[in-house]
């Protein structure tokens, strides 16, 4: 009798300890980032491109990487939407819940979701070499869109699957064609689509491996799709390998910027999801 209560107590302590450890690790990461990155963070960092001698610790900022990252994300989101919206609509409106094909497609999303971004990057670079493209904004967009496609499609699929069957039937009974029904459904799940976009961008904007070979790196803001584009994760990675302490400090400042962007995206997506929950028709 005593023993089983003792066991219970020990495991309770262990469980609380483990939870505290997870929380503690997060605090440690945040603290280390703030302590090293905050002093180097300045207005100049986010409003100017690297000047002469930037990589020796002289003046300049990371606007090139911030803008490059945002441009790639915007392009990738549009490309990925163009593929995932039709697929999700097809899965949910044209196929039955028990359809073999739908099961197979969903399973393939799950597997694609697990494919490492370095594999996407290597594959993307291979295709680009094959097509004679150089590392560029376009290349980065295409590879990142491959990377976010499964994330986006799965998130959207979950929202679309919850769409009330009665509403679909009501649409059809009013004489709408299936395509017109798609438009009704799309309008209803628009906030869900926005959430899916934010979610996938939040994951992809911090990924370095996919853009490592495909987007290149440059000190200026790209003005055409064929030019290489700098990205924040690579800015962190390259600056961290510099021996100059000021440059390393800037890497941590860039890490701080990137983390803030990701957190803002995550809060936004949660806010959209919450709003959607409130307005849901059912």
């Amino acid at each position: 009798m005593r023993l089983k209560l003792l066991e219970q107590k020990i495991f309770r302590i262990l469980m609380i300890g483990a939870s505290c450890l997870v929380l503690g690790v997060l605090l440690m990461i945040v603290y280390a980032l703030l302590r090293r990155g905050l002093p180097a963070l300045s207005w100049e960092m986010i409003t100017t491109v690297p000047g002469g001698g930037f990589y020796l610790g002289k003046e300049g900022g990371l606007l090139n990487a911030i803008v490059g990252s945002l441009m790639i994300m915007a392009g990738a989101t549009i490309l990925s939407l163009a593929l995932s919206v039709p697929v999700v609509m097809f899965l949910n409106l044209y196929l039955d819940k028990t359809s073999r094909l739908a099961y197979l497609v969903r399973l393939s999303f799950d597997v694609l979701l697990g494919v490492p971004s370095i594999v996407y990057g290597a594959f993307g670079f291979m295709v680009m070499v094959f097509l004679g493209l150089r590392a560029s904004l376009t290349g980065g967009m295409i590879v990142v869109s491959l990377l976010i496609f499964p994330i986006m499609a799965r998130a959207m699929d979950e929202v679309a699957a919850m769409f009330p069957k009665e509403m679909k039937e009501a649409t059809l009974s009013l004489g709408a064609t299936k395509f017109e029904m798609v438009r009704v459904v799309l309008r209803q799940i628009a906030p869900g689509i926005a959430t899916a976009c934010l979610l996938s961008v939040g994951r992809a904007i911090g990924d370095a491996a996919a853009v490592l070979f495909t987007a290149g790196y440059t000190d200026s803001i790209p003005t055409s799709p064929g030019q290489p584009a700098a990205t924040l994760p690579l800015a962190i990675f390259f600056q961290l390998s510099s021996p100059v302490p000021q440059v390393q400090d800037r890497a941590y400042a860039a890490a701080l910027i990137l983390t803030i962007i990701v957190l803002v995206l995550s809060v936004l997506s949660r806010w959209f999801a919450h709003k959607y929950q409130k307005n849901k028709v059912s």
Binding site: M15, L33, G114, P116, F237
Partner: protein, 302 residues
């Protein structure tokens, strides 16, 4: 053509486009795999897959491509990460889904969300800033004469932290499929809450825990940039926790830009990507099918 037939035509066309897009999405995996295979073929023709996987000599200039150092590096790093992350995530997962009051749960899930949102490269930067010096100054001196801290242990620690949020959220899902009635009946028979957790919840979710772990392993295998930044990148078979390693993804990331000049090098790197892809596909398919089955098994019960 009247209005109705335009509408019907539009619907058909849209349906066709959607079907095409779906097929394209389904083919994506196949296209990636076959693309990598075609590029890796030259090296597979030269020597057998087995001799490549078990060869310990990596000397591209002389034409030796032995993947054993990289495979063992990957196994070391992933192994350490799982060994560190599994107990912590399991305990946290049980606590959050079975015991924690809702206020604690809220805080913990926000913390896990933030942890899962932090980009890999930031984890890498943190590893360089904190974990590597910690290993070099506090851990290594007790065991070896000198270590720079850039080791499979550092990489394992960073990677372990990175997969904790995934593991905890998967475990939470798995535990939530266990019906409440079973728990209640165990409790009503006089079991303590921990006995209920151990003998009912944990026991019935064993397949789910296994599937979740496999999924986390496959995620950990492919992590590139964070591991690359702290693992040391020395081509050797690590003999201890404090040795530097060189996992497969790091091999691809470090060398892919400049490989074209050496014969066989590109093929070797593509083979590395193909090996990664193959392992990940097998692991993912396995665990997803298992997880789906578990979800369905309980969903069917009234």
């Amino acid at each position: 053509m009247n209005r109705t037939s335009v509408r019907v035509f539009l619907s058909r066309a849209a349906g066709g486009y959607m079907f095409l897009a779906t097929m394209l999405a389904l083919m994506l995996l196949l296209v990636i795999a076959s693309g990598l295979f075609v590029k890796a073929y030259p090296i597979l023709k030269q020597s057998s897959l087995w001799s490549l996987l078990t060869g310990a000599v990596w000397a591209p200039i002389r034409g030796f491509f032995g993947f054993l150092p990289f495979i063992s590096g990957t196994l070391w790093v992933t192994g350490i990460a799982i060994v560190l992350a599994l107990p912590v995530s399991l305990l946290t997962g049980i606590y959050l889904s079975e015991y924690a009051p809702s206020s604690v749960r809220k805080i913990a899930f926000s913390a896990l969300d933030i942890l899962s949102g932090i980009p890999p490269v930031v984890y890498g930067a943190w590893g360089v800033l904190v974990v590597v010096p910690f290993i070099a100054e506090w851990v290594a001196p007790y065991f070896v004469e000198y270590s720079s801290g850039y080791s499979v242990l550092s990489a394992g620690i960073v990677l372990g932290i990175m997969i904790i949020p995934l593991l905890v959220s998967l475990f939470g899902e798995v535990f939530s499929t266990v019906p409440k009635e079973i728990r209640d009946s165990a409790l009503s028979l006089g079991a303590t809450s921990w006995q209920t957790t151990k003998k009912v919840v944990l026991k019935s979710s064993l397949p789910g825990i296994f599937a979740a772990t496999v999924l986390a392993i496959s995620r950990a295998l492919g992590e590139t940039i964070a591991v690359l930044m702290v693992c040391g990148n020395v081509v050797q078979i690590p003999a201890s926790l404090l040795d530097a390693g060189y996992p497969l993804p790091a091999l691809i990331a470090n060398n892919y830009g400049e490989m074209a000049s050496l014969p066989g090098y590109e093929a070797a790197l593509m083979l590395a990507a193909l090996i990664l892809l193959g392992i990940v596909i097998v692991f993912n398919t396995l665990s997803r099918i298992l997880l789906l089955r578990i979800g369905r098994k309980y969903a069917l019960q009234p």
